[in-house]
Symmetry: C2
Subunit: 331 residues, 2 copies
């Protein structure tokens, strides 16, 4: 491609100074109507697009916020990304997405990358509990950040998370009151606070009811859960659980998949409950009973908090969102 037109080119054609072009296109400063029109026409004719790179270089505002997510293959996070886009746009910012690909070790690099690109703030949705880089970062931040959904084990930095332990207790208790005694819990990847807290809640509720907890690990992964739960279902010498509580909806879907595969019906044969309440399209036929993280509220809170941080309106943002039990058709 040929060299791109600059404001200088526009200035030459419009017979004004380059700073006048800047004034017209940024909408700042007084410019005579006629001059303005001449500039606009010239810009149009040359197919001029303001160079945002140069602009943010000068203004020291990148107008962008960095978002770190584990993956876009989990509906929970692709929905998050979609909403982040909407909200940041409302705040006249663009979102820069980075993915860790479900690998905690990739986190540090993508955060550094985002900082290098001079994002004005960081929304971190893939923090693992023991991330030492993040621990240090929270002590000496260069750019405001808020952890979303997942957080560090040390209670530092800014975060908006849901009360995962409580949500887990709610789910387990609900199954208990439905008469279930053998409740299998499918855990997520224990590298993340959500998995830790949810497991804790499940154990707490089971202990309280004097029931024996039974746990398998699905790692927040569809395929792994499908297999691991399948193994449980196929083990003939053990008592089958009457209910399965999955640590997130993605794994709950895998559970249902494993069930269907064996001609077992969710609820009719084995109750299934998830966690997240993803507003994912197949909900009408799956109709999953789940714990809502109230994702939209959580995200909005995190983002508003981040903007408050950016604008110096606050120093800390720490919010716990109360989860909700959503009873549908699978439990």
């Amino acid at each position: 491609m040929a060299r791109m037109t600059t404001s200088r080119d526009v200035a030459r054609l419009a017979r004004v100074s380059q700073s006048t072009v800047s004034r017209v296109l940024s909408g700042k400063g007084n410019v005579r109507q006629e001059t303005s029109e001449r500039v606009m026409t010239a810009a149009q004719r040359l197919g001029y697009y303001v160079n945002e790179t140069a602009r943010s270089m000068k203004t020291k505002k990148s107008k962008s916020i960095g978002v770190v997510l584990p993956s876009l293959l989990n509906p929970f996070f692709s929905e998050t990304a979609h909403s982040v886009y909407t909200y940041t746009k409302e705040h006249d910012r663009t979102m820069l997405i980075e993915l860790t690909m479900d690998n905690p070790r990739a986190h540090q690099a993508v955060v550094k990358d985002l900082i290098g690109r001079r994002v004005e703030g960081l929304l971190l949705g893939a923090v693992s509990t023991g991330d030492t880089f993040m621990e240090e970062y929270c002590q000496h931040p260069v750019v405001p950040s808020v952890m979303y959904n997942r957080r560090l084990s040390k209670d530092i930095g800014n975060w908006v998370v849901s009360d995962n332990k409580l949500g887990s207790i709610m789910a387990t208790t609900y199954l208990l009151t439905q008469g279930h005694r053998d409740i299998l819990y499918v855990s997520g990847d224990m590298a993340y606070s959500t998995a830790v807290d949810r497991l804790m809640g499940y154990k707490f509720a089971m202990d309280n009811a004097g029931k024996k907890p039974r746990v398998v690990c699905g790692n927040y992964d569809y395929v792994q859960t499908f297999e691991v739960v399948g193994n449980v279902l196929d083990a003939e010498h053990f008592r089958q659980p009457t209910a399965i509580f999955a640590g997130n909806d993605l794994m709950a879907l895998a559970v249902i998949g494993a069930l269907t595969n064996r001609n077992l019906g969710p609820k009719s044969d084995i109750a299934v409950i998830g966690f997240d309440n993803i507003s994912w399209p197949a909900r009408r036929d799956i109709n999953l009973t789940t714990i809502s993280q109230r994702q939209d509220l959580m995200l909005k809170t995190a983002l508003e908090g981040l903007f408050d941080l950016i604008n110096g309106r606050t120093h800390t943002v720490r919010t716990v969102i109360k989860p909700e039990l959503i009873i549908r058709g699978t439990a």
Copy 2:
């Protein structure tokens, strides 16, 4: 946040010139081992991150490619986004995502935005057939672009799409050979070439078989399809279709949802076939019969083409990907 450290700060601390810092951190130019280490230590101590904005300002390479998608709520496109991330990363580029929110009118603005940010190339996955801005853009491009999946009606610009008409014929013919005569087609939003071509294929195949086509419009939207198809199913005075062919998988899921809601089974009562072959998590219990767009191949082709364009290795990229019939459990 305090002013960020610059290479100048690092230079001062390391007692070298600023350009030496640049040489060390960009890995270009010869620097003595010892000097290099001194710079690295200084950078470390100051928490220095190279300002990519300034760097790309100077090098005139943004190291980023712009991606326009209709939405991240449709699994087809969130999967696309996920893969784009992987591929662009392999090419040492970052992806800048913009969404049209399924609104063709939003397209022009987001493309301009991306150009303003000086992306090196554009992957356009949300082009509508009659977009006059894009038509003009293709004649006088400022930045290389390739349309992905959807394209203009005028045959201009660069594109990688699947043979949607053929795919549609394959789906319809398959249903016909299965003995179906009353096949309902659920169309997508006719603003997009995919919807136009798929409808054409369906009609062609039906005509060929001497069957009467029957079409409703789901606009590529889950909720709308759920309702529209529900209406058909509830219309008592009409003959029910024995098979439903949905213009994409998202709508096929809505069809199955509407079926399930009425205690009808896909295949057992009414056959369902989709289009896309999204590798979406619930596939094991839904087990949707569909037409594969071979998304991965299509995307890879589009992106490789885009990079070829960027590097001046080619002038045009136009590829039609042959679709595949994937027979599973719903038809």
